[in-house]
Symmetry: C2
């Protein structure tokens, strides 16, 4: 079946642009809280150090137009960005592996403000199964499949030990999960049509340490 893809079609937006939109949202939310009514792409550019024409291009994917000399209406821009980014819609999620990192994510209530609704955690550790963490039930892994289908879960968050990451992912997909948010440093594989987002915070640490050492050498040689 043929589909017409419009300029505003969300599938068309390139990932770098998509990653910049939350920066704009953070900034315009701040402006809104300060009671500011209009903002130009030039002003956003100055504040965020992104080229103004790039900002205008990124925002052209949204259902909003800036006015000459005045710019974008701040409240409207906040709203459109949140809608576009999906932060206003509720996405049910489960956490697979409630160890230190998994527990931390359940603990981070801020995720709820960005549309992520963690409905359950799963583990095999008898010390925590049957308990709750910040109101979220921690269940035995054996009830994974029934929970996912019953609660209409879309996102599976993988915070398992590395050697169980792939097995866990396979099980989530089998149970009907459409998106995996992988926090392990393991490269999970999945069939076509399953969305995988890798957030490798340890890789970020590696980059930071490396740049820190390089900077130290520059400072030492200065």
């Amino acid at each position: 079946m043929a589909t017409t893809i419009k300029n505003t079609d969300k599938a068309m937006i390139p990932e770098p642009a998509l990653r910049r939109l939350p920066w704009y949202l953070a900034y315009v939310t701040l402006l809104d809280e300060r009671g500011i009514e209009y903002v130009s792409s030039t002003a956003i550019s100055r504040e965020l150090n992104v080229d103004a024409s790039q900002i205008a291009k990124d925002l052209s994917f949204l259902n909003i137009k800036g006015k000459t000399r005045i710019g974008y209406e701040v409240k409207r821009l906040c709203h459109e960005l949140q809608e576009f980014l999906g932060f206003k819609r509720r996405h049910n999620a489960v956490v697979l592996g409630v160890g230190s990192l998994g527990g931390s994510l359940i603990h981070d209530s801020g995720l709820g403000n960005y549309g992520l609704n963690i409905v359950a955690g799963f583990d095999i550790n008898p010390d925590i199964v049957g308990k709750t963490a910040c109101g979220v039930p921690i269940l035995d892994i054996s009830s994974l499949e029934t929970t996912i289908s019953k609660l209409n879960v879309e996102v599976g968050i993988i915070t398992l030990p590395v050697d169980h990451a792939q097995e866990g992912a396979d099980r989530l997909i089998q149970a009907g999960i459409k998106a995996l948010w992988n926090f392990t440093p393991y490269r999970i594989r999945a069939p076509r049509g399953i969305v995988i987002t890798n957030t490798s915070i340890y890789a970020h640490l590696a980059v930071m340490y490396n740049r820190l050492e390089a900077q130290k050498r520059i400072d030492d040689n200065a």
Copy 2:
């Protein structure tokens, strides 16, 4: 002063290669735990879905050579990767803003295995200042400067509300911090020579939601 930069100089490694090294580490650690002694770049390639010649090139930055037909010694490769990535060195860090996300990071003891040693959290909330979280003291922001110089802190983790992110960063830099790990969606600016690593987990969520919606449209039209 002139410096000779060797091929093994860590400053030379491009960021994409640096980001792949923790994947290799995760995999070879697994092999080591399973008692496997040697691994070829072809075997790593099959498992991680990265081109074998790319892996060999990435590993050439390390102080290790693979042997023809046998490959890399697993134990040695683990060790060299950990050394190279800085995960074996201790980097003292403070968390600025012990809200939901800041508290989660303090809670994530896994970071310690990757060389990050959180020595204190800072906040202004009188309900939590003076307490400890997972053994880490939460101090009033007024003692930021003395703590940083006394404990030789290198890394400042920023988990403040967006509208305090820049101000917090400025204060950390003023106190002598060399690297900022920014978890806010705000684009922090810093003078040359300060390392900034942005981990925008909400931007990752935005990308995931967007891909999920796009996939739904594809499925609906199939």
